[in-house]
């Protein structure tokens, strides 16, 4: 049951082989057993989950079930969900119960999915190891001494450990793809604007994008059918016709042109990761793809550009957490300024404060042109690189992360080393392109390696096809960690 695909689960539910309540209870029991060690979930609410499951069962009984009706899905704790504590991994929101649903949550509710719980994450999605969470680090189910990646580390661990059927993540610089790679699961960051950001707590508004994380490309397609779509409450949401993301899954890959950017295979890439990626490319050749060598000359600037723009936006986005209207307020203070200072000093963790400081600095009078404007210009150049590349190829492939999962605490003292773990994913966010990661083998210490697939704008269905065909030919995606 825990290894079933979403198709299979949906079929079993509609055939009444199992009820949603039974399925939800099974997952809740497994969470009770495994979560204390993995710390993948921040908040569980069995009452709400089971109530949703009962509603789903009624809907199934009435014959109105949709594809995900009754299926337990976990939600990253960055999405506001009505009646649920929504913390964004921060002490600042440790007591915040959302009075409203994010668009993505509302879409799942409408589809009849069961909200199984809120998953752990780096504080305000700032981190690549899930170690910045106020609620403690998440352990990688493949090796509990190692990180699951971040910021959607709780989601990645929950999916890998079979603590949910599928789950949501968000990706600002790699926060879906990197943890998916490190935990051996599949994850998709859609084109910017495909999933509404309404109700998703903002980190860097021009880069943030919600997406699905699951055990296969096929599952991701079903999740995308629920999550994607125009929302008038998000001005950056794109007005496009609804599409079926599963429509291309079975197409053969013959003639597919895969671009391999030389910059993604240069210094800094772990040899174990490189070997697994090369093997995956060889597999694609067998499936009929041709390889094109390409270059993304400005991609080397993506980390510095990102660490100007994302903190700039974050420093402003996080200003609303001031202790005035909701969230954490320091217990003692002398006046207004002191209340602000103490509440924010005590409510935010070190990494969040570091990024607020960087962002405030780069937007300051006298530095704005040199940092923010310059970074915006380079951002356009990075996007142009991809536009050029897609004249020669259909998808771009490479590693998702330069290494497999590292040890807890290993990079804690060195933010720059930590930032470099997103070196292959960040350019995709800067360009607004869709990107995904799928498992493609194991590296040193038997830890999973992720293959990154980058598509052109709105090519999600094609990318899912490319991933699915690989997953038909290989079984990396169905390997499970021995967690019990």
């Amino acid at each position: 049951m825990f290894n079933s695909s979403l198709y299979q689960l949906g079929g079993a539910l509609r055939a009444k082989k199992i009820s949603s309540v039974e399925l939800t209870q099974l997952y809740l029991e497994r969470i009770t057993a495994l979560n204390p060690e993995l710390n993948a979930y921040i908040t569980l609410n069995p009452e709400i989950s089971l109530a949703q499951a009962r509603e789903a069962d009624a809907r199934i009984a009435s014959g109105n079930a949709a594809a995900l009706t009754g299926i337990p899905v976990a939600q990253k704790d960055i999405f506001c969900a009505k009646g649920w504590r929504t913390t964004c991994g921060s002490k600042m929101l440790h007591n915040f119960i959302s009075p409203y649903d994010a668009h993505v949550i509302a879409q799942f509710n409408q589809a009849g999915a069961v909200n199984l719980g809120k998953t752990n994450m780096d504080e305000f999605a700032m981190g690549s190891s899930n170690e910045t969470s106020y609620f403690g680090p998440v352990k990688n189910p493949w090796d509990k001494a190692r990180v699951p990646g971040g910021s959607s580390g709780g989601t990645a661990a929950a999916v890998a450990a079979r603590l949910c059927a599928a789950a949501t993540g968000t990706d600002t610089g790699g926060s879906i793809r990197q943890p998916a790679a490190l935990c051996g699961i599949s994850g998709l960051k859609p084109t910017y604007g495909v999933c509404s950001r309404y109700g998703m707590i903002a980190f860097a508004s021009s880069l943030d994008q919600a997406g699905p994380m699951g055990r296969s490309a096929e599952d991701l397609a079903l999740m995308m059918n629920v999550m994607a779509g125009f929302d008038e409450r998000d001005s950056t949401s794109l007005q496009r016709d609804k599409e079926d993301y599963a429509r291309n899954l079975s197409k053969p890959l013959h003639g597919l042109r895969i671009g391999l950017p030389k910059e993604f295979f240069a210094e800094g890439l772990g040899s174990d990761v490189a070997l697994a990626i090369e093997a995956a490319i060889a597999e694609y050749k067998k499936l009929g793809a041709t390889i094109v060598d390409i270059s993304l000359p400005n991609s080397k600037l993506s980390v510095p550009v990102y660490y100007v723009l994302a903190p700039a936006e974050a420093s402003s986005n996080l200003s609303r957490f001031d202790g005035v209207r909701y969230g954490y307020r320091a217990p003692e203070y002398t006046d207004l300024a002191d209340m602000y200072e103490k509440s924010r000093a005590q409510g935010f963790g070190a990494e969040v404060k570091r990024r607020i400081m960087i962002g405030t600095y780069v937007l300051s009078h006298g530095y704005y042109d040199a940092y923010y404007l310059q970074a915006q210009k380079i951002r356009r150049l990075i996007a142009q690189d991809f536009t050029e590349a897609y004249k020669q190829c259909d998808v771009i492939m490479g590693p998702t992360s330069p290494s497999t999962a590292f040890k807890l605490g290993e990079k804690g003292d060195d933010p720059v080393q930590m930032y470099l773990s997103d070196i292959y994913t960040i350019a995709v966010n800067l360009a607004g392109l869709p990107g995904m990661s799928i498992p493609c083998g194991f590296g040193d210490n038997n830890m999973p390696v992720g293959l990154q697939i980058i598509g052109n704008y709105f090519d999600e269905a094609r990318m899912l096809n490319v991933a699915h065909q690989y997953q038909l030919a290989t079984d990396w995606h169905s390997r499970a960690p021995q967690v019990l």
Binding site: C80, S98, R197, I201, A202, D234, S235, T236, R325, Y326
Partner: protein, 493 residues
Amino acid sequence: MTWEIVIGLEVHTQLSTNTKIFSGASTAYGAESNTQADAVSIALPGVLPVLNKGAVERAIKFGLAVGAHIAPRSVFARKNYFYPDLPKGYQISQFDLPVVGPGALTILVEPLSGNAKPYEKVVRITRAHLEEDAGKSVHGDSQGVTGVDLNRAGTPLLEIVSEPDMCSASEAVAYAKALHSLVRWIGICDGNMQEGSFRCDVNVSVRRPGEPLGTRREIKNLNSFKFMQQAIDYEVQWQIDTIENGGKIHQATVLFNPDTGETRAMRSKEDAHDYRYFPDPDLLPLDISEKWKEQIRATLPELPQAKRGRYIGEFALNEYDANILTSSREMADFFDAAVDCLPSQPKLIANWIMGEISALLARDKLEIGNCPVSAVWLAGLLTRVSDNTINVKTAKEILDGAWGRNQLFAKLIQAQASIDAEIESKGLKQVSDSGAIEKIVDEIIAANADKVAEYRSGKDKLFGFFVGLAMKASKGKANPAQLNDILKKKLAG
């Protein structure tokens, strides 16, 4: 030693949309605290702004009305600072790319001093940009607690910035008044200054002629023209005294205290904020197509200046009358509606609006917008004056009577029927039968032989006495012109 005064204004006009600039919450004034604060107004985690098109339309309308450049693409920016009434920790405003570019407004200045004549002046408008209002801190709780009311947070504002083109308090007030009239004229702002719909910040500096601009101080948040006049007068004198006493002016923001009539510095430039403006990534650039702009242009009413010119040129009104009649949209609408019904008599209509109607409005403390008689009704009445059916005295009596009965006819034919019926039933028709008037005059001459003798011996002033008697005898209905002629002839003997 003479001084030159340099004044520029920043005016915040609240746009008359029903909902906020970035959310669907109501903008109605006076609701209970925080009942109009939705998720966006409170800035809950995860909420996003969505631009209200109505606010943009009003900004475009203003830009077109002052002949300004409408930016085909403008950008919303975040102005970052912390304050309890600013829920997001930033205000969404426009910074380097505002929606309205340079334009100009012609104003009519009426100098305070002595018998100086009113004159026209063109004030350049630098820019106008859209932004959201902040909420309000509510102090004064018994425990010394400060509350925050976010009803006003997110109310759409158009901030209109002028060049420093004004060189006296009178000019500044004239500009503010002209702007106030214009935004109401084109229907983008209710102009209610008590409720804060029209708030002025005034930048003032002084210099000796020929010297570069002096350091300015900004008087914040003036919400009456009277206070503006007082505040500028005080500030100018304070700056001149300071410099003449060997002091220096430091850039500062000051507040005007209406009780003392003084301005006092609020904060100096040293602790000025670094607002860290940057383009708001939650909002797309605001694109305004030529088509949209032209659609809005087509909805613009004739503007006051054009109307003033037309009244003078077409209707031969004098400048004073034309100014009064275009002082507000309601006034001009009233006049236009009456002229539409009685196109041959614009001067007569103007006289009545500025005379009788204005006097009655003033007496009852009413505005022309809620005048108890409609323009159409007035036209109906004056139709009967101009065709000599009734005389002016009778017409005034009919107006007085009608005033208390709300004659709000929208159609001339109905108004006319009502007036004609009243004339008929009360027998108010003017007597224009020369035989009847002659008879009255003959009787008066016969009965007042002594006064007639005096008149004939050169006491011309007695003519009015005879007119009064004759009018009385005709029960006020004699055609005054005819009566005059006949009296003159008969008295001459």
